[in-house]
Amino acid sequence: MLRFIVGRVVGLAPVLCAAIVATFIATRLLPGDPVAVMLSDHSADVQMAARLRAEYGLDKPLPEQFVRYIGDILTGDFGLSFRYVHMPVWQVLKDSLLISPLLALAALALALPVGALAGVQAAAHRNRFQDTAIIVVLVAGLSLPNFAIATFLVYLISVKLNLLPVAGWGTFRQAILPVVILAIPSAAYIARLTRTFMLEVMQQDFVRTARAKGLTNRLVIYRHAFRNTLVPLITSAGIIFGGLLSNTVVVETIFNIPGLGRLAIDSIFARDYPVAMAVVMLFVVFFALINLIVDTLYALVDPRVRDGAPA
């Protein structure tokens, strides 16, 4: 088991290295000069532009900038932010660091049971009214962009009914709407997966046997069929969590939550390369970690994965 985990961690290294190079190249290729952003409307001040450029090492050739960047990563502070004057990137990040993963985790915790239950219900009533109704609701949840859902819910719940705060971050009540909106597409996705898995499992021999033995429908579905869909569900949790993390970008923008997602957008628009690169790297690391955990869980459940080729 340990060997499996070590192997996976070692396997991550090239991905991370490639990601470092890719983010570096991508951010440097962004049109727009960070110094011009710093100076904004006054960017014709040549003297000051030159001074800022030198201060941030932007006057150096790209390979040298890259080496410097690697150095900044190794020292752990990721260099200086371009937007927040004289502030190390780490300082900018640290308040936001846990917010996005927490949002995603909370949404996953909400989406998993709700989605699984809906999926099982749909499968149990295949092609009957319940099935069609659930499918349409699910597909709608999956189809409507979350910025549209968010606007309608905020309008209804926060503005019209005044039940929850409109935006912000800091209290539990402020976290409810973002988490729910984040969870909707994932719940729908999980439900759909569950339905498909269930339908597949229910065709298999052991379920037929159970049925033939005269077990009640409910027992067959939950005890036998659903249990067997758990494994694929757990593995997809990684993908779902990744999607949730991605979507925090949109939700944090709408709800004004100072998380990594909003920081990613803000820093890309502000051409704050060091922050943008660090945030993207953090996303990659979160992604990798969650996949590692999922794979480990999967390997625990299914020995074939451990021994065979990596999934």
Partner: protein, 290 residues
């Protein structure tokens, strides 16, 4: 990308496909929606009642009336006409992204799966690195890099999507190449390219179609999301995502733009997703009721 996609089987015979497909009400509804959207997109220049870019500042945010059936936007442009032309934008983006991702993704995936070894490692590690990035963040990074515009969105989304398709194609080929008909073709002296194209491709096309039909919905949504975040297509070209973005601030006073945009976008994606589900069920015989 998910376990379900890997389920492979020879495609069912044509009559059975239709029988199964048509039995699913939701799939038929989805198909109908897709058909309507496609026709509207195709005929948009003739269907739009007004020029989509004609501004009229005296008549901004007009409520629906007999001239502007869905009212006008903040520059006084006809919302209905922009929705109709916007269908074309959405579909052009979606189909271009699909075409690119499938051309590259399927080819690379099949090559990786068939040849294995270093070729496979090179292709799949590249895919892994791409997949290691969160989709939205990655797309934003690319879109910001290239500047706003239709081609930007297409490139950004294609770059995000191809690895998933490549993985699917690879896993499908790995299963298929164990089949006897492949051995037979090799013995008959067929070139690898010939085998991939003539023998393997037809046998993996069903799950790819399913993937594509589900993908369209996601791509349309992704385009809307990029537009919503301000990286969308250039004015005056209408895009549903951009229309929603423009409409949201006015939701309280003039809800028509955001609502009509969201509704059309939502229904279209629902249509593609329902169609995709239906195709999946109809093309995968293991899910058939005996």
């Amino acid at each position: 990308m998910t376990a379900i996609d890997v389920s492979v089987a020879p495609p069912p015979s044509r009559p059975r496909f239709w029988r199964v497909f048509l039995r699913q009400r939701s799939a038929v509804i989805g198909g109908a929606i897709v058909l309507i959207v496609a026709i509207v997109a195709l005929l948009s220049p003739w269907l739009a009642p007004h020029p989509y870019d004609a501004t009229d500042l005296v008549n901004v945010w007009a409520p629906p009336d007999s001239v502007n059936w869905l009212g006008t936007d903040k520059l006084g442009r006809d919302i209905l006409s922009r929705l109709i032309v916007g269908a074309r934008t959405s579909l052009v983006v979606a189909l271009s992204v699909l075409a690119i991702t499938f051309l590259f993704g399927v080819t690379l995936g099949m090559v990786a799966g068939y040849f294995g070894g270093r070729v496979e490692a090179a292709i799949m590690r590249t895919a892994d690195v791409t997949l290691a990035f969160p989709e939205v963040v990655f797309a934003i990074l690319i879109a910001a890099m290239l500047g706003p515009g239709v081609s930007t969105i297409i490139i950004a989304l294609a770059l995000v999507w191809w690895p998933g398709v490549a993985r699917l194609a690879r896993s499908l080929v790995i299963v298929q190449k164990e089949e006897l008909y492949v051995d037979a073709a090799i013995l008959a002296g067929a070139s690898p390219w010939h085998i991939l194209r003539v023998h393997l491709l037809p046998n993996i096309v069903a799950p790819l179609i399913v993937r594509a039909s589900v993908g369209v919905g996601f791509i349309i949504m992704a385009e809307a999301t990029l537009s919503f975040l301000g990286l969308g297509v250039q004015e005056p070209t209408p895009s549903w995502g951009g229309m929603i973005r423009d409409g949201l601030p006015a939701l309280r006073t003039d809800p028509m733009l955001a609502c009509a945009g969201s509704a059309v976008l939502g229904v279209t994606i629902i249509g593609f997703n329902l169609l995709g589900d239906g195709l999946r069920d109809a093309l995968d015989p293991r899910l058939h009721r005996s």
